[in-house]
Each structure stands twice: as C-alpha cells, then as structure tokens.
Symmetry: C2
Subunit: 359 residues, 2 copies
C-alpha cells in the first residue's frame, strides 16, 4: 500500500491561528461573522499551512458530496460522449464532480450501478436509459434523490427530463425534402419498437407526409435491423427490390446518420447518384456526416446543450432552486450539407439505371 501524506486539518489551522476550531470553520465557510483581525489570522494560517478542508469529513457531516452520477449505456458512442461533454462543462463550472458508469444496455446493470452511485452519496443522478424501462428510476425518485432522465420520454411528468421532440424533428426533415419538391420519400429505420425514440421518429415521418398531402406508402420504408452490426444486407436487398419494381423514391430520411450512410452506400453501388438521383437526410449530425461522400445533410440534435441543460436542471433541483419547467424539450435544426438536391426532372430515366453486379 501507498502511504498517504498527512494533510493539515482544521485543528492545525486553529492552533496556528490561536483560535478555536469553530472559528476556523466559520471563516472558511463564511458562515458566521468573525472580527476582522481574527479572520485575518485564520486566513494567514490557512495559507501558511496550505489548508484545504477534507471533503470526505465534510461530506460525512453535511451529507452532501457535490458529486453527481452519470449512467450511460456506452460512453464510446459519439452521441453519448458529446452530451456528456456538455454535462461535464456545467458540472465543473458549478464546482461539482462527475462520476461515470456504463451499463452496455443491460437493465440489471443499470439498476446495480444506480445503487452503487446512491451508496456513494451522490447529490443527484443523470440517467441515459438503455430502454423504455423506468421502474428503477421511479425507485430512486421515491428515495428523494434528484434525478434527470435524458433523451427518453418517461411517462411520469413528475420525473424531470431533457430531450428533443423526435416526432417534430423528423417532420422537419420531411418538410425540408418537400421544400425541394420531393413527393416520393422513403424512410430507413430499425425495428426497435419498444423504444419510444424509434416509434416517435417514425410517427414524425408519417405525419410529415400527411402534412404535405403525400400518401403514405409502406413499401418504401426500409426496416433494417442489421444496421447496428454494420451489416447492410437488409438495406441492399430492399434497395434492390425498390429498383426492380421501379419504385425508387426520390428521397429518403433515416433514423440515424449511420443508417443514412449505409443507404448511400447501397444506392451508389446500385448506380444511383446522391444527391442528383436520390436525396438523403440523416439524423443526429454525427462526425461521420462531414466525412461521408457526399457530406450528409442531417437533423441536428443539440447534444452539448442537451447535456448542459440536463446538468443545470439537476443541480438546480439539488440546490433547491425553483425550476419553472422540469421537462425540457430542445429544438432541432437541419444542417445542410451535400446530400439533398431537387428531384430529377425525369424520374422514369432514374428507374432505368441498371444495377451493377454487386447483387
């Protein structure tokens, strides 16, 4: 074991300054009036000994650790890490410390980690749920530990949350394509239907069509489970089918940037040009958008802001401030890059393009 250095305690400072412990405490925490000369003596002693309060001892007494926990499925996913960056910045500014733990989409682990953090006497908890399962969150909420849920619609509005309007955002994407004159718009998603995010984006796609008086054609919605495994076969096959049936839409929206890029790949290999023949809009504005060919036009979620807002909300609750709105919905916007153009004049010509020998 390592030997730890003994640091000066409040007792040492009191002795050095020739005052009582409680006086030192009052000075350090500015919690009581102390006459100027004694105050100066204390401060001088603090500086001389380089005294810093032992926050463990303080935590024991005050039951506050100025620490917040963050539970997240996987820190390595860009979306999460970018949101967390926003949290970290606010926490630092407000002099809180951030404890991180990952659950890898394991609900049991979520609950276990939650308890570990509670045992650490965190002042509050920021929760990215892997799934739409909030029983453990309710549990912690009922334990009177401040908690904020991120990026998930939790049914109970009493539980504070920060998210985007997924339905509206996808509607926005459809609107955007319509503004270019598109009337045949496909959708690529994955079947993860027990997740509200997935359901809502699809709902946004549908309501976007409706709003623009476009009949909904389920044939051009690509359901690609495999996309998370980087196996694009599903998308390829559906693109092929659409092509053969001469039913290729002039544009697609996608539930995520990765799906969109997979789609572009499939389209390109099938001989379509993006965006001249087919336009594509992604979702999330991840870094890959800039590196994609063509660069991907996408719906941006304000990730950093999301983290910052969540942290501010949480700390406001922790510190007992009045919060007017504990269910924050953040705005999204379209980031225009190079994957959207007006639909081709002659769409018949489009359908005549031949598939390569990839299939």
């Amino acid at each position: 074991m390592w030997k730890k250095l003994k640091r000066p305690s409040i007792r040492d400072v009191a002795r050095e300054a020739g005052v009582s412990i409680s006086t030192v405490s009052s000075v350090v925490n500015k919690t009581k009036f102390v006459k100027e000369d004694r105050q100066k003596r204390v401060l001088k002693a603090v500086k001389k000994l380089n005294y810093k309060p032992n926050i463990i001892a303080r935590g024991l007494r005050t039951r506050s650790t100025r620490t917040v926990g963050v539970i997240v499925p996987d820190i390595a996913q860009p979306f999460f890490s970018q949101v967390i960056r926003g949290m970290e910045e606010v926490a630092r500014k407000r002099r809180y410390t951030l404890i991180l733990s990952c659950t890898f989409y394991d609900v049991a682990e979520e609950e276990r980690q939650m308890n570990v953090l509670v045992d650490q006497f965190i002042d509050g908890l920021l929760f990215f749920c892997g799934y739409d399962n909030y029983s453990h969150i309710k549990k912690i909420y009922n334990q009177n530990i401040p908690v904020v849920v991120i990026d998930r619609e939790v049914s109970d509005p009493k539980i504070p949350s920060v998210l985007i309007d997924n339905t509206g955002a996808m509607e926005q994407a459809v609107d955007y394509l319509c503004s270019y004159g598109h009337r045949e718009i496909g959708y690529v998603t994955f079947t993860f239907e027990n997740q509200a995010t997935v359901r809502n984006r699809y709902a946004g796609y549908c309501s976007g069509l409706k709003k623009n008086n476009i009949p909904h054609n389920p044939d051009i919605a690509i359901i690609d489970d495999a996309i998370r495994l980087n196996e694009l076969r599903g998308t390829y096959n559906i693109i092929k089918e659409l092509h053969e049936k001469r039913k290729m839409p002039t544009a697609f929206t996608a539930i995520a940037d990765a799906s969109a890029i997979g789609l572009i790949k499939a389209l390109k290999e099938a001989g379509y040009r993006v965006p001249q023949d087919v336009s594509v809009v992604g979702f999330n504005n991840e870094i890959v958008c800039e590196f994609s060919d063509p660069p991907l036009t996408t719906v941006k979620q304000p990730k950093k802001l999301m983290g910052a807002a969540a942290m501010n909300l949480l700390l406001d609750i922790v510190e007992g401030k009045k919060v007017k709105n504990k269910n924050i919905v953040l705005p999204t916007n379209i980031i225009e890059r190079g994957s959207v153009a007006a639909p081709p004049k002659n769409t018949k010509q489009l359908s005549q393009r031949g598939f390569g020998n990839e299939f």
Copy 2:
C-alpha cells in the same frame, strides 16, 4: 434542499443483533473471527435493516475511497471515449468508481483539475496529457499518489505509462504499402511538433522508408495544420501542386484517419481513384473508417485494451501489488479495408489525369 433519508447505521445493526459495533464491523468486513451464531445474528440484522456501510464514513477513517480520477482533454473525441470505456469496464469489475474531468487542452486546467481530484481523495489518477508537459504529473507523483500516464511518452521511466509504439506502428504502415509494391509513398501530418506522438509517427514514416531502401522525398509530405478545423485547403493545395509537378506518389500514409479521409476527398476531386490510382492508409481505426468511401485501411490502436491495461496497472499499484512492468507498450496492427491496392502499372498515365474545376 432535499431531505435525505436516514439510512441504518452500524449502530442500528449492532442494536438489532444485540452485539457490539465492533463485532458488526468485523463480520461485515470479514476482518476478525466471530463465532458462528453471533455472525448469523449480525448477518440477519444486516439483511433485515438493509444495512450498507456508509462509504463516506469509511473513507474518512481508512483514507481510501475506491475512486480513481480520469483527466482527459475532451471526452467527446472518439479516441478518448473508447479508451475510457476500457477503463470503466475494469474499474467496475474491480469495484472502483470513476471520476471524470475534461481539460480541453488547457494546461492550467489540467493542473487545476488534478488538484480538485486529489482533494477528493482519489486513490489514483489516470492522465491523458494534452501536451508534452509533465511537471504537474511529477508533482502528483511526488505526493505519493499513484498515477498512470496514457498515450504519451513521459521522459521519466519511473512514472508508469501505457502507450503504443508510434514509430513502429507507422513503420508498419509503410511496410504494408511496400508489400503491395509501392515505392513512392507520401505522408500527411499536421505540424504539432511539440507533441512526441506527432514526431514519432513521422520518424516511423522515415525509418520505414529507409528500411525499404526508399529515398526520402520531403516534397511529398503534406503538412496540413488546418485539418483539425476541418478545413482541407492545405491538403487540396498540396495535392494540386503534386499533381501539377507530376510527382503524385502511388500511396500515402496519414497521421490520423481524419487526415486520410481529407486526403481521399482531395484526391477524388482531383480525379484520382482510390485505391486504383492512389492507395491510402489511415491511423487509429476510428468509426469513420467504415463509412468512408472507400472504407479506409488503417493502423489500429487497441483503444479499449489500452484503457483496460492502464486501469489494471493503476489499481495494481494502488493495491500495492507487485508490478513487473510499469511502462507498457501495446501492439498495433493493420486493419485491411478497401483503400489500398497495388500501384497502377503505368504511373505516367496517372499523372496525365486532369484536375477538375475544383481548383
């Protein structure tokens, strides 16, 4: 303020079980022999009251918090977040908790955060330095706080570290290109010369050429400062110049995947095909490699392993275990995707390709 629930203390357990506090402690921590019947009584009381030791109080007494700090320039960068994921997994397995803070490449902030963490009584510290500046690390090392430096060669071998052999890795990349028959190999980097990583990779490029008896031609090393800002003008201009001078090499290695992808973009717009005309090798194996067109062949750093190794090393030191090697160097390897092929037969033809009107 939130009212906190009062949790049962060791005193409550002792009362419930009808034994002394010290007996409860002995049972809970298995630190002393206690007769079976009393042990059972204690355990029963623990279960009945759902007692969990207050780790703050324990920390105050034992001066150990089972907490490690991680200081990193920016959690949102994929490299860092993937390494951290490895750390987190090990920490969780070994029942430690992870405190995170970001410095955004600010040396003063590095030192400030370091002190904040020390004040938190972390048991150890994992440090990603933004720059080659180790004075504060030496300071903390001398305070007898276990510390491990990641991804940086710190001059003093007494300070534990985990990294890859950057020179060797880049040599590997050059070797790989040579094995395809390339003899004209360019390099793209940025001028960040006060960072050993950058210097060493360039050194690896040079020694790789030497090893393969290729004379070093400084004209085909692209120095592109702007790449971090996603401004590819530098690369474009140099590609243009190489093209006009008919000096385009048949292959490039790059200091990072982003640089490589920027390069590919410039090459494509200039009318070169990748990999048929020019091959490109990246560095890091980031997610973008898979989405790039063509998918990027690259040098892989074992990021997760790196984090895991660093955390294990740190915790071994914290726990006073004997460590045979406190300066760990991890292996790299080439991930083959689609951006490398044999050089074209007739390189003259290559130089005749015309630039588009991008320039």
